[in-house]
């Protein structure tokens, strides 16, 4: 799975999670760019990522995620 495909899948996941068709993720997208992306939404997003990509993350890894690019790198690493 390439990082471009991970970005596409993540975008679909975010659109579904926030029920907002206009979301267009970029590698520098952060929680500040999406209105409802707060700490509770982050919990749901992480659980959705684990389910969608079939991976397990830990709290240290999740705590370091500063933007979508970091998410993509972590998913890519876990899937490699």
């Amino acid at each position: 799975m390439t990082k471009d495909i991970i970005l596409e899948v993540l975008t679909e996941l975010f659109i579904s999670f926030f029920d907002e068709d206009s979301i267009q993720l970029k590698i520098d997208t952060t929680a500040k760019d999406i209105e409802d992306w707060d700490s509770l939404a982050q919990v749901g997003i992480i659980l959705s990522i684990e389910k969608k990509f079939g991976i397990k993350l830990n709290s240290l890894e999740v705590g370091k995620l500063e933007n979508v690019g970091a998410m993509i790198d972590l998913i890519y690493e876990k899937k490699s």
Binding site: I46, N58, S59
Partner: protein, 141 residues
């Protein structure tokens, strides 16, 4: 005194059981503060005319006891309820003793949450009245 379990103190497979019962007064109190005076809850005659043997306990009242279990026992004060889903299978009536069986089916270490599965059944005959699940954040982890 409430539990206050930390994430590392919780175990996949851990089970907690709680026995409960509602009274007619409880139904009336719930109708007063929720405003849900639907006839199957508020009127014995109306409930009987629809095939029930008495006034039916509101599903939300049953969930209130699930909330009690989460907020006081599993995990207790450390709980922050994020999601809850329930299916109601059979009616529950006042003075019926019922048991809520709660089992941790998943620990999500990435976000320090647990998924708890619930089975709720009548003590007398083991008939299942509801089942569901909840996602709970452990906020003192």
């Amino acid at each position: 005194m409430n539990s206050n379990l930390k994430f590392h103190e919780l175990t996949k497979g851990q089970i907690v059981n709680q026995v409960e019962k509602f009274s007619i007064k409880d139904i009336d109190s719930f109708i007063n503060f929720s405003g849900d005076n639907s006839s199957i809850h508020a009127s014995k005659n109306e409930a009987e005319s629809k095939g029930f043997r008495d006034r039916v306990i509101h599903g939300a009242m049953i969930i209130s006891k699930v909330s009690k279990l989460i907020g006081t026992i599993l995990p207790g004060d450390s709980a922050l309820l994020l999601n809850i889903n329930f299916d109601f299978k059979q009616p529950l009536y006042a003075e019926d003793w019922f048991q809520i069986s709660a089992k941790i089916v998943e620990k999500h270490s990435s976000v320090e949450c647990i998924t708890i599965k619930f089975d709720i059944f009548l003590i007398d005959n083991n008939i299942k009245i509801a089942k569901g699940s909840a996602l709970v954040k452990i906020h003192n982890a």
